[in-house]
């Protein structure tokens, strides 16, 4: 091709390779974006999406390959370099200083001198008007909702004059309405000739927002396709490498009995703020109750309250008509209530990161042994059984769990809880950050428990999954129940409205 006819890309990567120790995170990846285009980057966990984007934003440095910005080779060695090339990244975990105001966060690290708050506000407002953003520049970040924080992140890169925007899983923590708003902003950026790269797990969002999709698999760029020519199935196939059924089962269980009932439950969270307030609901055996809500709406407090980890301020938790409020976590476990909570950092609760699988199994069973010594044999056996049953990938059962990948760690946690054959299984975010394959395995595990007449509480983020997997969905907003709906009849939009505390009119309620 002649030089002049070649399209000039806003950004182009050629043969990017990056290794961490012996792990090849990126293996000769090619990728390009034009100005005025939205490119979606799709791939399973560990396929190298975030690594690649971190190289564009100067956090990592590629071992091999080159990056071209507007047709010219660019050496990006630091975030400052990336900024000077007009590349701005909105990270999955926000990089904001909590105690600063929005305005302080936005001007942080820029070269000009510190302006008075008024001048800063005017400058920020000008950008807001251009792209249809809304922000209170004097508000402290710790007072902000997730969506507001994201707006500040976007403003931060726009303030630095970014023309190429990279968003790493921006919708993971947003309600459907907030996602719509974000997409409107992205479209506006596209209209004004900016290039946008968006990383996401959610296929329907890819189809909605992007012009083209680049698919990564195991660190390699598999293909780049035009979005209009794709559907969910073809994208999944490209991503996983084979055809995958995207149906989630919802088996029907005949005999349902009420087993756990919460009455007017009020629980304070550990930092003293109100966690949940006057929450009443009931769960039956052979049922999956979904809990939806924006992050931090009281899900954690509810789970920990039932498990006996947080003090119940008011109300009762009736388990088989017996009030379990005030019982110790150990007593609650022995009653057959089991909780597996996967926090944002994935390892924070339930497993000891530097212990191997055997020792982690022992954590839950050592009390049953007689005498002062522990017996490792049964735990070892259990660990090897789990490895086989859940196809857990680990170098060995004594390998510290922190060295295992996120999905495998979650399988260990959930597997251990299920092995104790509970009557009530509380799982919070069990598929957090997991790719399609591992997620479906977890859904199947939960369904198996349901068929065994276990009452399952599933706290989730992905509304599509909640709607497909659960029988009923309870929506929390600021610690209060805004609605309990029948998952077969409810829609995503209705859940979204409930999540933000909107009116419940017209929503199919459970009798």
């Amino acid at each position: 091709m002649e030089k002049g006819k070649e399209p000039v890309y806003a950004i182009e990567c050629k043969g990017i390779t990056k290794t961490f120790g012996s792990v090849v995170a990126n293996d000769h990846i090619d990728l390009n974006v034009k100005q005025g285009e939205i490119l979606a980057l799709l791939g399973e966990n560990g396929s190298g999406k975030t690594t690649l984007m971190n190289m564009l934003s100067g956090i990592y440095h590629p071992d091999e390959g080159s990056i071209f910005v507007k047709g010219e080779e660019a050496l990006i060695n630091s975030p400052t370099d990336a900024t000077s090339f007009g590349i701005g990244m909105i990270h999955q975990h926000f990089k904001l200083v909590e105690v600063f105001t929005a305005a302080q966060n936005i001007v942080l690290g820029t070269k000009e001198k510190l302006e008075s708050p008024k001048v800063m506000k005017e400058k920020i407002d000008a950008i807001c008007n251009k792209f249809g953003l809304e922000v209170d520049s004097d508000k402290k970040v710790y007072d902000m909702s997730v969506s507001e924080k994201q707006t500040v992140e976007i403003l931060k890169v726009l303030y630095r004059g970014a023309r190429i925007l990279i968003l790493d899983e921006p919708t993971a923590v947003l309600t459907p309405q907030e996602t719509e708003k974000l997409f409107a902003i992205l479209r506006k950026m596209k209209e004004q000739g900016n290039a946008v790269i968006i990383i996401t797990h959610k296929l329907n969002e890819v189809l909605e927002i992007s012009d083209r999709v680049t698919i990564l698999r195991k660190g390699q760029s598999i293909e780049t396709v035009v979005t209009a020519e794709c559907d969910v199935n073809s994208l999944t196939e490209l991503m996983v490498g084979r055809a995958v059924s995207l149906e989630i089962d919802r088996p029907e269980v005949e005999k349902k009995e009420a087993i756990l009932k919460c009455v007017d439950l009020t629980i304070d969270s550990s930092d003293g703020t109100r966690g949940i307030e006057d929450v009443s609901f009931e769960i039956r055996t052979g049922e999956i109750l979904g809990i939806a809500g924006v992050a931090g709406s009281g899900q954690k407090e509810l789970c920990e309250g039932i498990a006996g980890l947080l003090k119940v301020k008011q109300g009762a938790i009736l388990y088989n008509k017996e009030n379990i409020v005030g019982k110790t976590p150990l007593e609650i476990i022995s009653l057959g209530i089991s909780m597996s909570f996967v926090p944002e950092d994935r390892l924070g609760m339930g497993l000891v990161a530097s212990m191997g699988m055997t020792d982690n199994m022992l954590l839950k069973s050592y009390k049953k042994g007689k005498g002062p010594f522990i017996r490792r044999k049964p735990a070892k056996k259990l660990a090897s059984e789990l490895i086989k049953k859940l196809s857990i990938v680990t170098p060995g059962i004594e390998t510290p769990v922190r060295l295992m990948s996120g999905g495998n760690v979650q399988k260990v946690l959930l597997g251990r809880e299920i092995e104790s054959s509970p009557n009530v299984l509380i799982t919070a975010y069990p598929v957090r950050g997991l790719d399609i394959n591992s997620s479906y395995m977890i859904y199947n595990l939960l369904n198996e428990q349901k068929k065994k007449n276990v009452a399952v509480i599933y706290v989730g983020e992905d509304l599509d999954v909640l709607l497909e997997l659960c029988d009923n969905i309870m929506v929390l907003c600021h610690g209060k129940i805004t609605g309990i709906v029948n998952a077969k009849k409810a829609t995503k939009e209705e859940l979204g409205i409930l999540m933000t505390g909107g009116s419940t009119k017209g929503v199919t309620k459970v009798e």
Partner: protein, 319 residues
């Protein structure tokens, strides 16, 4: 206690709180970039010896102060290299620096006395004159205001000016904003293009230098220019606690250190007829420190909290 005594007590408290003020300011500067340096005591000791010897050999008060600062900064640099570059545990490194610094200062003092073959190391007259309270003709003679505002040694003024400058630096300048961002969330600062490592080093060393000046105070003023071992005597530890009392605010550190100064001076001003044993007075600063730490852990506001990343080393490529 008559009125003149009260004035004298306040003036003595302010003087007595000054070394703690330096220690506190130094530690605030360090913690603002997310590094908890428990080596304040050691850096003060090293600053004390270096400042003392510089004064001893050059007869210049100014050089003594500069050398004390440089020595404190150098001691902090050891801590910086270990924790910033090599990611060593901050608590252990700081504690080690305290043990090392106090021991080094004692050893060097002993060594100097033996080598110079003198009974005791004493600063020459010329320099002790410069350390005395500054007498400003006219101003110092005004009743009440004179002794309260214009009757101090140069350290006191230097300490207060340092505190005000630091408050301005952290709250009013762009650089201060950037530095605070490092202490709160180094990853955010890094992504915003701030040179995290560079500013961590600068602040850690600056903090160490300020502690060093506080050390020079202990030997030049408290011990009146005569070298003794263990001259810092726990003031560094009180400073670390005072950082929490001052909620990481240099201006509040001024008042906090003067309150602790008052506690240290109390025994000389309460009439002995009341009959409280002297040991109680010696205990007071430490008891108050304990109470302050308990109160600080109960009070839990985001506004006056420790920089969020304090104590945690930052590694950019951490996954």
């Amino acid at each position: 206690m008559d009125f003149g005594m009260i004035i004298a007590f306040i003036a003595a408290s302010i003087t007595s709180g000054t070394p703690i003020l330096f220690g506190t300011l130094g530690e605030i500067v360090t913690e603002k970039v997310g590094h908890l340096n428990l080596g304040v005591e050691g850096m003060m000791a090293i600053g004390a010896f270096a400042g003392f010897m510089a004064g001893y050999t050059t007869d210049s008060f100014l050089i003594a102060i500069l050398v004390a600062f440089a020595a404190g900064a150098l001691a902090a640099l050891i801590y910086g290299i270990l924790t910033i570059t090599f990611m060593a545990n901050q608590n252990v490194t700081g504690l080690t620096l305290t043990i090392f610094g106090v021991g080094l200062a004692n050893f060097c003092g002993h060594f100097a006395r033996k080598t110079l073959e003198v009974e005791s190391l004493k600063l020459p007259e010329k320099i002790t004159d410069q350390m005395r309270a500054i007498n400003i003709p006219g101003l110092s003679d005004i009743p009440v205001i004179g002794p309260l505002l214009f009757s101090y040694n140069p350290f006191v003024y230097l300490g207060i000016i340092t505190a005000i400058l630091l408050a301005f630096y952290f709250n009013r300048t762009k650089r201060g904003l950037n530095v605070r961002a490092i202490g709160e969330n180094p990853a955010a600062a890094d992504a915003a293009g701030i040179k995290v490592t560079k500013w961590k080093y600068i602040n850690v060393c600056l903090g160490g230098g300020i502690c060093g000046i506080g050390g020079a105070f202990t030997i030049m003023i408290i011990n009146k220019g005569v070298w003794i071992s263990d001259c810092v005597n726990g003031l560094g530890w009180i400073s670390v606690a005072l950082v929490i009392f001052a909620s990481w605010n240099p201006k509040k550190a001024i008042f906090g250190s003067f309150i602790f100064g008052a506690l240290r001076q109390l025994k000389y001003y309460v009439p002995s007829s009341i009959g409280i044993p002297g040991a109680i007075y010696d205990m007071l600063p430490y008891i108050i420190t304990t109470i302050v730490l308990i109160m600080a852990s109960v009070r839990n506001s985001k506004k006056n909290a420790q920089p969020a990343s304090c104590g945690v080393n930052y590694f950019r490529e951490e996954r």
